[in-house]
Amino acid sequence: MTLPMGRPMREIFGETVAELANHDPRIVMLDGDVGSSTRADIFEKAHPDRYLQMGIAEQNMLGVAAGMATMGLIPFISTFVSFAVVRPLDQIRVLIAQTGANVKITAGYAGLFTGQTGMSHIIVDDLAIMRAMPGMVSIAPADDVEAAQVLRWAAAYEGPCYVRLVRDATQRLFDEEYEFRFGQATVVREGTDVTLMSTGSQTPRVVDAADLLAAEGIDAHVLHVPTLKPVDVAAVVAAADRTGRVITVEEHSVIGGLGGAVAETLSQHRPTRVDRIGLQDEFVQSGPNDALLDIYGLSATRVTEQVLRILRAGD
């Protein structure tokens, strides 16, 4: 069984922030000339006076956001992960994270699904970078349902946060009953043989992989970790205890992201072997989404293969 497709997170972004702005006059949208891609144009249509084109000048855009936040406004940022995180990184560090500015770094085009762009636009170390920054909250929602809830949470949260959003439609994991809770991880499949931990839109593919593993006689426990910082220590420890064997899977570098957070947590609180599936220490090429998932080992089938290989290799 395969999880169904949901709506693209970018559409959820434009619609949800526009809806939030209906009720909160402090919300503004700062766009780095990609509003037609991130779907900030949906916000622009609803609130033309609060859509602020900043041009192709991301360092200035993040600085402007910091200044606007001191005036009581709530800026949401519209650009791609690559230009929201690393290009203006020092501005985020000095003007936003250090000051605690109420800026929402809502970055689109996360992970591999960037419309066949290649190494300049595909950044797979964003969670590691943002997670390491003092004062910065980092969240990667799993699907369209969770993305909408995270955006609503971010608008209400007083302080800077990083939200990682995907361009294209991805699989839907949650139904409308689901409730995102900041800083909390969620068990999305109960199992006893191995614990798979995932984040962002990789989690639905890991749930599919768990079904494939079941056919191989392996009963996987799956923990979804949307909040990378602060990480849910209790849930990570409990999920590790469940099987005594942990494998992290992420559409991100295996260095410093979810795998890093889980390894840091377990090495201190409950030493457990952790294997990490994700992008290796490499730059990524362009290609169709499915091809990239296959090449980089993140499709349900490829995740299943790797989990089996890891488990069969033993300790």
């Binding site: 200035n60 402007v64 910091a66 200044g67 001191t70 000095v94």
Partner: protein, 301 residues
């Protein structure tokens, strides 16, 4: 004992100019004293900016030192954050905190960090120190004031060396697009940066820009450009007043200044950008600034 100087009224008459000149002198004295105690910190930049900081904090800015978070205050950002001790001295004299606290400058647990930290000291409108950023934050404040319907000006002081940062020109481009005439950039054009390109200038270094370059650039980016003598108090007040009468464009004031102004052996030498002061140098500096000779040998320890 803490001392507060009273800000004079808006009109700039001869008495007020004398008053502001005296405050600028006091700022310079406090700068040299604090850096001497800290055995660290920048000198050239704060001294070139002292007259302008006096004019801003004692004449131009609509602020309430007793209520540093007053929502409708004018904003001031020291984008050249390495001149922090100049700003702290102006703020202390204006009554934001006791003048005695300047002795903690750059020390552990001090509110007066080496570069301005808004989370530690009330009255700082932004944390700065990484060059090029203040103008962006100032643009956000000016734009935010407009969106929230408030008559607030955002003043940003930049260094001329700082104008080599690309972000400055991103901000210049974007602020002009929005016609933010409540955004005023004051460029401290002391014509020296920390080290500078080698050349046939003083001490073998040349200025960060060629003559006329800053005026041409800010103009080309769509800003109204004013020029002033950054050490002539009457000229400073004239330019500041003109800057507050907006014409639909952001305003850049190019202030011609001398790095290390007021201390004879520091003026015009790049290597006084940051350097510890020797005891005999401290005595000379106090004398240059018209301050009574210190009772000690100048060593605070």
């Amino acid at each position: 004992m803490s001392e507060r100087l009273v800000a004079p009224g808006p009109a700039a008459d001869a008495d007020e100019i004398l008053h502001l000149q005296e405050i600028a002198r006091r700022i310079r004295v406090e700068v040299v004293k604090a850096v001497n105690i800290a055995r660290a910190g920048h000198l050239g930049g704060p001294l070139s900016a002292a007259d302008m900081l006096a004019a801003l904090y004692f004449h131009e800015l609509r602020i309430r030192p007793d209520e540093p978070d007053w929502p409708d205050r004018d904003r001031f950002i020291l984008s050249k954050g390495h001149s922090s001790i100049g700003l702290y001295s102006a703020m202390a004299l204006r009554g934001y905190f006791p003048v005695e606290e300047l002795a903690t400058f750059d020390g552990a647990h001090s509110r007066l960090q080496g570069h301005p930290d808004m989370t530690r000291l009330p009255g700082l409108d932004m944390s700065t120190g990484s060059l090029g950023m203040g103008i962006s934050a100032g643009m956000g404040m000016a734009l935010g004031a407009r969106l929230t319907g408030r008559d607030i000006r955002a003043w940003v002081m930049l260094g001329d060396g700082e104008c080599q940062e690309g972000e400055v020109w991103e901000a210049a481009m974007a602020a002009a697009r929005y016609g933010l005439d409540n955004l005023i950039a004051v460029v401290d054009h002391n014509r020296l940066q920390q080290y500078g390109w080698p050349g046939d200038g003083p001490d073998g270094r040349i200025p960060p820009q060629v003559p006329g370059e800053l005026v041409a650039k800010w103009s080309a980016f769509g800003w109204r450009v004013l020029e002033m003598d950054g050490h002539d108090m009457a000229d400073i007040l004239r330019a500041f007043d003109e800057a507050t009468h907006g014409d639909g464009r952001p305003t850049a004031i190019i202030a011609y200044t001398i790095k290390g102004k007021g201390v004879s052996f520091m003026e015009g030498h790049y290597f006084w950008h940051t350097r510890a002061i020797k005891p005999d140098e401290f005595a000379t500096a106090m004398a240059d600034l018209g301050e009574p000779a210190p009772e000690t040998d100048g060593d605070p320890r």
